[in-house]
Assembly symmetry: D2
Homo-oligomer: 354 residues x 4
């Protein structure tokens, strides 16, 4: 039983079927094909953003590197939570492009609008500001590395602060499907895809961790605003970073398949992520009712549990899980992740084991 991550299962069957249907077809290269057009159109429609520019890239680190290096001016850095993926687990890909990651202490993986506002304000008030890397954009993950989500109002506030200061907001949606499929908690709902397209200057709809073989769909609602001299040259920028697929349709086809549907809730993308979230919620309730300590309150497919080292060793005989943080005393925090491929029976059995 695999609960270690959401990208160990190979690929959703619909994608494999669709791929098989391409046999014998001839398609022009570099994303100039009809499948790429179709997938882009679907994304624009689901985002209610008819003028958005859409690009398909290979993976999360690549996408972050390419997008951040495009949005920043050469001398600027990117503000991120110090638990942010770009700050830790990307082998310095952002620094490779010459930019500093400026980190802030997170709140369950999230940044607040106030933190961003204070940082930028303090920066420009510093008499030595010209000797310090300026905050040139804000990077957030949604869901975060801790499974948590920004509420709509939180996202609106961060967006407003960014735009007050004239810097773009970029949302890393490696697991965006699970955010979109989360159940609203309390009065403040979670942002929809059109909300995100309205509030962010760039974001990506994650494929790799949401049922695709690989691929992330980058959306720029207003790319010219952030392009050097107002000209969209993102295509060459992708190529220069070694990130352009010759057969661009391969990544697009996966989104074209997953995002088929009149409304987002009718798409396979939503359906499979909703399944994963539902199973995670079942697991969460069981954990809570059995008295386990959950360090964060995650409404998505990743659940974090503090267990004793003995308990962890026991569980390891039955399931795979993620070790999230190094052990602390006699305890360790582990991650249990569900996915589109998680079997309800496996969750039942895991609950019994707990």
């Amino acid at each position: 039983m695999h609960f270690d991550s959401d990208y160990t299962n190979t690929c959703h069957p619909l994608i494999l079927q669709r791929m098989a249907q391409t046999e014998g077809q001839s398609l022009p290269g570099y994303g100039t094909d009809a499948i790429t057009r179709s997938a882009s159109d679907k994304i624009r429609r689901h985002c209610q953003c008819p003028d958005a520019d859409v690009y398909f890239l290979g993976g999360g680190t690549q996408t972050n590197m390419v997008v951040i290096d495009y949005l920043l001016r050469s001398f600027e850095g990117v503000l991120a939570a110090d638990t942010g993926h770009i700050a830790i687990h990307e082998s310095g890909a952002v620094e490779f492009t010459g930019h500093k990651v400026l980190t802030l202490p997170p709140n369950d993986g999230k940044l607040t609008a106030k933190q961003v506002d204070d940082y930028v304000t303090t920066y420009y008030a510093d008499p030595n500001w010209e000797h310090i890397v300026p905050p040139g954009m804000v990077y957030i993950t949604h869901p975060t590395e801790y499974g948590t989500l920004y509420s709509l109002s939180e996202l609106e506030e961060i967006s407003a602060v960014c735009h007050k200061h004239g810097i773009p907001l970029y949302l890393d949606g490696a697991r965006l499907g699970y955010a979109l499929a989360a159940e609203p908690a309390g009065a403040d709902r979670f942002p929809t895809l059109p909300d995100i397209a309205r509030l962010c200057d760039a974001f990506y709809i994650g494929g790799t961790k949401c049922g695709a073989m690989f691929g992330e769909a980058v959306v720029f609602p207003n790319i010219k605003t952030w392009s050097p001299r107002g000209e969209n040259r993102f295509f060459s920028h992708i190529k220069r970073h070694g990130a352009l697929l010759a057969k661009g349709w391969i990544a697009a086809l996966q989104f074209d398949t997953l995002l088929e549907g009149d409304t987002l809730t009718s798409t396979p993308y939503f359906t499979i992520c909703r399944h994963a979230v539902s199973e995670a919620m079942r697991l969460r309730q069981a954990l809570v009712s059995k008295g386990y300590e959950l360090p964060v309150d995650s409404p998505t497919n990743q659940q974090f549990v503090r267990v004793t080292l003995d308990r962890a060793a026991e569980l390891k005989q039955h399931i795979t899980y993620g070790e999230w943080e190094p052990p602390c005393g006699n305890n360790v925090t582990i991650r249990l992740a569900t996915s589109w491929a998680t079997q309800p029976d496996d969750v039942d059995r895991l609950i019994q084991l707990l």
Copy 2:
């Protein structure tokens, strides 16, 4: 009828079938899976190089960028023909990593051992050498951008010159299958895969242009020799360039499928490339017998023909082709490329059109 390039057809059916078989499987991430091991083993076997390190990357530009940035010391440049892919068609990806491409005039797309020897010797004889970018490696393409091939003795000579000067030789095999499948011409045969593994310090076996959906297999026969402080850190290097696939098995699976077979000649990889070369040779003979001018003598799947602008316009009504160079007077050089998917009937019809 498509003769414009060898990567417009989607993917070889064997790969699609194999992919479909992964349904429901769970595989660990980042190339630590059994498929990647199997594909790597096959490559080591076909190369007769049991200790080689093998990595699977996404595309040609990415592979060149990542490999060259690994082999070079920070202050060094890479020697290449000025028609070399890295010198022209990669949007400056090598320069993005901080390295200069040092170019030499090509001979039908190829470098000679003498050119390399002279360049390096002249460099170190220059009183200002320390102010000039040193040649830190040699980059060749095989087949070249003009479809030509290095003979075994030519490759042996370049390899000897590189090693005399203590710099690595890297072979870009984006279309390597077509080189391996080419018919020997004259007394001097073309290098085999074991020859290449013996003579080069790094090379890649091209997938994207040889029947795969995407993917290139990088082979380092002796990676520690060229690693900083003798330690292989290529994995982190890949990640830092945004080039690491979370589901690493996707690229490996394609090579595992294409390279199945006791001997290289029994593999699908060889068989489909041999087919493409055979069709190209049929086409070439027809061109020669009809009196067309062929600017280079290509033994592989790319054929270049000089035609009048009128003739080119006529052909365009029936086939796609590549425009290789801007028109010169009343003539233009076009590229006709065959692939694993080329239908013999289409070649027949093209011959009739000529």
Copy 3:
């Protein structure tokens, strides 16, 4: 007798005197001092460009690297003659910043407006343009590495072509003093400092090779046009390249001294460079009248002469000279450079030796 270069003599005495006068003074850091303001004002006045932004950097390679990396967008390259200093003798400093140097064959060290126009036009006409590094600016040297000069009309033409294509023109004036001091040849005069400020988007007035200890004065007539999002952030850009002097006044003081005077021709800068050029012209006439072959017609302080290897060996016993190109057969081209410090007696003696 030293004729090998114009930067072997330590420094003009006026600068040493002025430096000595700073004893005991206290000046704020990073170019915020009164000397820097004064030097900048003088430059603006001599350029007849009251709104120019002026910065003082340490040396030529540094200046080229910092300015080019500022003017280019990240994905762009810089057009230069393949004899251009940035293309050869800067150890790949431009590539270090991620940019490709796009080279064109020179005409006695110069580019023509037609070459630039053709290159840019051809680039955008190429169906693969988005895969190729775009020409994002033009770099010229004046005087060139061969001592030659652009005439006013040549500079006007190149400037017009650049601006037609929307790219900036940058003039490397490492030896600008010798250009300004050259005698007009024929009907078409050489550009003055106001001409250069009117026609170029950036240029520097060289100090190191024109009598200073070190230092180059960068002038941007219209920096906001070429700044990302229209905001001048060159100060931070300098710092980020490690090129910001804590005691910024040191470089400025040298220009403040050399450029003292109501008109350029009354400044020490002009006077000492005029001296060097006059001596070079005397030498040149002697060479011509003695039948030596001069590969280029240089009106400035660098003279190039083709001599036999025997003659070169003989001269070496009496003078230092520069070996410009590797020997070709029995001949070698040597450089004889005068400077502000060249003694007329030494030139007389050299003429006798010839």
Copy 4:
């Protein structure tokens, strides 16, 4: 009365005199001259390190950028205190070279051997280590940004930990003169120049902040150990970063002047820094006896004092000082820095003002 920093006074008179003596001399370029040799020899002698490689660079940020980029392998980061100069006040120069600054919480500006050991050990124990930037060297400042010093045993311990883990230790000695001139405190003395040369793999002897016009002397006791493939190519590396002075002797001359003397204590460098430290100690005693709060215990020329905002405003009418941290409530921490040029009378008057 200037107490804001140690680099506002122009330059020590001995240097101005020595500079004036170069009038009329001719010296070869790029540090191949006799003055550079002499200064290097003096440094090797004072360091008791006859085989050290010595280089002269322009300023602190430049030196840090150039040295760190040389010592690190491309995929590595540099460990530093989060108050370290490279982490804050260098406009991202280290990131510009592609490297991440990995920060640790400081102890009065210092790192401990245990912190370094824990960081490196934890790094390699992390199952995801290959996805995280590895600590490839340690950067310390001595004196630190808070004027504090490593004791000999602290430096020995950090050095031992670095070498246990196979990574180099680099000491930023922008203000090294003040460290060498500090009075030993307690049983554990401060490291001497030979101690530093024995324990560090690279360090620089600061000029800019210790009486020179500009310039830092980089010392590598064992450069080949840390050079790629064991070959010292630091000269080209400097040039590639735009940091090579054409007239290299200018920086060297200043060290040749300041380090003249049989023993370090007899050199102007030591004498002027000792003067600054003595005056700082007088000031410190006065502050303590008047009951001021000193946040750190600095034995060098920088003293930090917590004062009320009213008091700070009063002082501002008489002296310049540095504002070290933004005000906190009603208090602010200011920096009072002495230098070689500080007049004892000024210190007396400042003490009376307090």
